[in-house]
Point group: C2
């Protein structure tokens, strides 16, 4: 196990925790106090760390995501839906049990955008909860779905589904789709932060900022 | 306190926890075992719940976000940056201390997109960590920043900065900007899930799905 820790860069305590929580399969026992671990253990550990550290998933969410990856029976057409549900069990996406202003506004948005969305899509719940929250905290002017957000989401989904379609023949297609969903959320949140700063410089050109390019120039000189 | 719990819908145990953690200011003590709470306590509790339950923030992150809202000295031009740093202290956005393939790829992307981004922008770190993760888990074909993601982020930032500019004269401008940043991440992740399902129906038209509109029709009949 100490060798597995060294190769993967994951501390022994964490490896033991993942074994206990069922995220990592035990190695083959070779003697009373030693087990053999292979390349697939190293690969699995790196995947677990990517989902938790970079994707921000909880242990419980990572477990349900890995279950979808491990199930060879999941047809590709269902992988995306399964991935969506597995990565969406945070409180943000909890089912809204009764019709609220939020669900009504989201359903009206779906209809006007002409989108086809199942009633149990976790995003429908999430968006409704955000809208309801804006009203509850006294910011009703934010309780809308901006046109720019809708068009941006269509662009993003186009990229995402191209990935799904292109991964048809791949052996680890479920893993690719799921990793793209989880880490894609993190990548998009990151791009949003960079684009906000860039747009801020366009609108408020006199704000002080130290751009990456200047920083790079300095490092070079 | 039981009345505050009833009005706000937040359990007493949670209220005590927020008081202990410094998220909520204590009420005015009116007798040995009673305190007076006002409207601002109810409003604050709803804000805390929105940040944690819907925005998905940890207690520690919620605390730093609220500190930015509470500081009357933060100039509006810095609120967005302060909000970005406060909501980005999850492991996803941890500083990358040395140049990696990820930082090089992200910096090349920033330069080719012509964006102005500070070297300590949390999104720059987050994107680099995602790219490095894709390579580490053996999915180097995902280690790119798709053109569609970049264009989508620009659309999103345009909406976000319009909000910031429009909130210039508002009394609770810092709160508006921060709530829009935190809940905006949740709204965008939700819209992505709906748009993915819609796009999936366009690409795989024979997949079974129960659309909201059908669901609505059934509920009506």
């Amino acid at each position: 196990m100490s060798q597995l820790s060294e190769t993967s860069g994951v501390p022994i305590a964490s490896i033991k925790y993942y074994l206990r929580e069922g995220l990592l399969q035990p190695g083959e026992r070779s003697s009373a106090n030693q087990s053999d671990y292979g390349d697939e253990h190293v690969k699995r550990l790196r995947l677990i760390r990517a989902l938790i550290d970079v994707g921000g998933l909880s242990i419980a969410t990572a477990r349900s995501v890995l279950a979808v990856i491990d199930d060879p029976e999941t047809p590709l057409g269902h992988v995306l839906g399964a991935a969506q549900h597995a990565v969406s069990n945070a409180s943000t996406f909890e089912p809204v049990t009764e019709a609220t202003n939020g669900t009504r506004l989201v359903d009206a948005f779906i209809e006007s955008a002409g989108w086809i969305v199942a009633s149990d899509n976790p995003g429908r719940m999430g968006a409704a909860r955000v809208i309801d929250s804006y009203e509850r905290i006294g910011q009703p002017e934010l309780a809308i779905i901006p046109e720019g957000y809708a068009r941006a989401s269509e662009l993003i989904a186009r990229v995402d589904l191209d990935w799904v379609a292109n991964s048809q023949g791949m052996s680890s297609k479920a893993e690719t789709v799921i990793v793209g969903t989880v880490l894609g959320d993190a990548l998009l949140a990151s791009l949003r932060r960079m684009a906000q700063e860039n747009r801020s410089c366009e609108i408020f050109p006199n704000s002080p900022h130290k751009a990456v390019t200047e920083h790079t120039e300095k490092a070079r000189s």
